[in-house]
């Protein structure tokens, strides 16, 4: 319990970012929804279209909606120029505002439709202009219902804002995503408690305002508005204090190795006197764009990933040439500086149980070919569709008797229980060491390499001080050391470490 409390105390900046993001999104939602509701109350067509659109948006899962704004903003760069951010605050803000639209709009439209027709007739009858009618009669009478809509929208938005972590916007989702990946339940709980607590408090405050409107008590709704404004102001103040140019933002994707390496890089930079901020749990697809437009400063990426996703290449020129090509390509096209390789690969590889491999006398993919038809191969759900598998299959003429799909965790279980003889493993996976698996060699270099490398954003590319601080990491991490650190974070029970602890241990091991 005290652990959760401790984590909660450390969440101040995420909390502030979360509040500012959610409040801005709800604010935009209100600014768009209210005039739209007025228009909708004057025209049935507008009402149908607006409500239909808002409902449609609501059917898109929040996670997908957030992710969709990346390509949308990317294409809008044609209009607004290259400075338009595609990650971080802007897309999260826009997506969440869209999400907040429906409850506010629907309540406002319903409230208007349910106004007493006698009162509206009287408003016309006493000679109100349509603006006077709106401000003196329709708005005050609809206010409690609209406020109820804003309350609903707020609770949704505060909840959904946790998902903005995946597109590089700090939020209370950061501890949740990091905790889920490393199975650190205290982190997950702390994030959930913080965001749920925030939602409850906001709901209660807005309830006070709603009630004040309903009872027409100016004092009550005034107090509610003041409390909300105070909280928002506090968050803004907190946020404005923390952000300065010297802070180096280190990103990580959603798996343990990335969290550990981010911590390792962070501690190196802190030792060199830099301020460091972590942007954990980014979607794999957005990390490269984020580093290229300097919304993050440092990431660890893999040669094979960049090769396929950014250079759009499917050939395999070999490990060294692939790396050199990428370094060159980044320098010319994105301005990203590839500082160097860490020394290990997190590639696809085929792994077998030690006893089974010994029994068959197999140590490389070549050795495996004659036994293929009698064996079952397990892979993650996408593996058998990936170019890596096709390359191996064609290079060796490898055929297996049976092909099975597993989620990564179950893949290792299947190998242990004998349901699969060979699996597509990840070379730096901690379970290779823990289960004492044999990684089969690939003499024909059919599998592309996935060298881990440090990427520096154009903003800090020229900063030699940073480069010097990170230099000791280059070529320093063996695949064995990385496996051990990964396993320490992934494992259950005794000996389980947090990414930070694992990073410290790794630093000791490589002599930093």
């Amino acid at each position: 319990m005290s652990e959760i409390f401790e984590i909660l105390l450390g969440l101040g900046d995420k909390f502030a970012a979360h509040i500012v993001l959610a409040a801005s999104a709800i604010g935009l939602g209100i600014i768009v929804a209210l005039p739209l509701a007025v228009w909708a109350s004057r025209s049935a067509t507008v009402s149908r279209i607006a409500l239909g659109f808002a409902s449609l948006v609501q059917t898109i899962p929040a996670l997908a909606l957030l992710a969709l704004f990346f390509p949308i903003l990317l294409s809008l760069r044609a209009v607004f120029g290259e400075d338009l951010p595609t990650l971080g605050f802007l897309p999260a803000f826009l997506a969440l505002a869209l999400y907040a639209l429906l409850p506010i709009l629907r309540n406002a439209v319903t409230a208007q439709a349910n106004l007493d027709p006698g009162v509206l007739e009287a408003a016309d009858g006493v000679g109100m202009t349509s603006w006077q009618k709106l401000t003196l009669v329709e708005a005050p009478l609809s206010a409690p219902f609209i406020m109820a809509g804003i309350r609903t929208a707020s609770v949704w938005t505060i909840g959904a804002a946790t998902l903005s972590t995946t597109i590089g916007q700090p939020s209370l989702g950061d501890p949740i995503f990091a905790g889920l990946q490393t199975q650190n339940w205290a982190l997950v709980l702390a994030g959930c408690i913080a965001s749920a607590g925030l939602a409850l408090v906001v709901d209660a405050l807005l309830g006070v305002i709603e009630n004040g409107f309903a009872k027409r008590s100016r004092l009550q709704w005034g107090a509610g508005v003041a409390a909300v404004a105070l909280g928002l102001g506090g968050a803004l103040y907190y946020q404005s204090g923390g952000d300065d140019e010297d802070t180096i933002v280190i990103a990580s994707k959603q798996f343990s190795e990335q969290y550990i390496l981010a911590q390792l890089i962070g501690s190196q930079l802190e030792k060199a006197g830099f301020n460091v901020e972590y942007r954990d749990g980014l979607g794999s697809a957005v990390v490269h764009s984020a580093v290229a437009n300097s919304s993050i400063d440092i990431s660890v990426d893999y040669t094979g990933t960049i090769w396929t996703n950014e250079l759009d290449r499917t050939d395999n020129p070999g490990r060294e040439e692939m790396y050199q090509t990428i370094v060159e390509w980044e320098r010319e096209n994105t301005g990203v500086r590839v500082l160097g390789r860490l020394g290990f690969e997190n590639a696809y590889a085929f792994a077998m149980r030690e006893d089974r491999a010994a029994e068959l006398g197999v140590s490389s993919l070549e050795d495996l070919v004659p036994y293929g038809p009698q064996l079952a191969v397990g892979g993650d759900p996408e593996f058998f569709e990936r170019p890596e598998w096709i390359a191996v299959r064609d290079a060796y003429g490898l055929r297996f008797g049976e092909t099975r799909n597993f989620s990564p965790t179950f893949m290792y279980n299947a190998l242990r229980s004998g349901e699969a003889d060979v699996i597509s493993a990840y070379t730096s996976d901690g379970r290779i060491a823990a289960d004492r698996l044999v990684v089969l060699e690939d003499p024909r270099e059919a599998l592309p390499s996935y060298d881990a490398m440090i990427m520096m954003s154009p903003r800090i590319a020229e900063n030699e001080e940073i480069a010097r601080a990170l230099e000791p990491l280059i070529g320093a991490i063996s695949v064995e050391a990385m496996r051990e650190a990964n396993f320490a974070v992934d494992r259950e029970g005794e000996g389980k470490l947090s990414p930070k602890e694992a990073a410290e241990e790794l630093a000791d091991k490589i002599g930093l």
Partner: protein
């Protein structure tokens, strides 16, 4: 149609010599008092604020004395000004509605079935009161009703409409004397027969009481 809540599809309505559709409707409506069956008091305003709304729209402030005066005019307690509409009875609310219509010192008062939702006693009392105010304030009043008795008792001039056509334009005296044509006479016949039947019943009761 007079205050352009409904636009005429044909013909013209002249108000003080001007076509109503040529006037700014908000301005026109402030010169015309309007009372209707739905009453339509603003539930978020006090009784006093409801009464003062017309002048307020024209950027005039009604003094509390004037509000009290208007309340007295419709036979309500002046201290009712601070009450909310939902604390009042139906009859009281319509009295406030009348006071609101009179607040702007209108040139014309339109009453669209104003007493339709009220109980008969309140209805009768209010009818009398409105007629009295009409005399006292020298108003021009147009009242729409389905109740011919009400029309005959309160009006100086009765116009009968049927299917959108004007079928009679008579004084109450003329209508009772048999003028105005078939449709108007059909309407006059209803309260007349009711009155005759009642008189008949009363006569019989009186007769029975005299019996030993």
């Amino acid at each position: 149609m007079v205050n352009t809540l409904v636009e005429p599809t044909g013909g013209r309505v002249l108000f003080a010599g001007e076509d109503v559709t040529s006037l700014r409707s908000a301005q026109l409506r402030r010169r015309v008092g309007y009372v209707f069956q739905g009453i339509g008091l603003f539930p978020h305003f006090t009784v006093g604020e409801n009464i003062a709304i017309g002048p307020r729209l024209a950027s005039e402030n009604l003094t509390p004395e004037r509000v009290a005066e208007l309340l007295t005019l419709v036979e309500l307690e002046p201290d009712m000004a601070s009450r909310m509409p939902d604390e009042l009875s139906g009859g009281q609310r319509q009295r406030v509605g009348v006071a609101r219509a009179l607040a702007g010192e209108p040139e014309l008062l339109i009453m669209d079935e104003p007493f339709g939702a009220l109980d008969p006693i309140t209805r009768d009392a209010l009818g009398e009161k409105v007629r009295e105010l009409h005399e006292k304030l020298g108003l021009t009043t147009i009242m729409v009703t389905h109740d011919m008795a009400e029309a005959l008792l309160l009006a100086d001039r009765v116009l009968v409409m049927s299917h959108g056509e004007l079928v009679a334009d008579e004084t109450p005296r003329g209508l009772l004397g048999g003028a105005g044509g078939e449709i108007a006479q059909g309407l006059v016949a209803v309260p007349r027969q009711q009155a005759e039947k009642l008189a008949d019943m009363e006569g019989r009761l009186a007769h029975e009481e005299k019996m030993p």
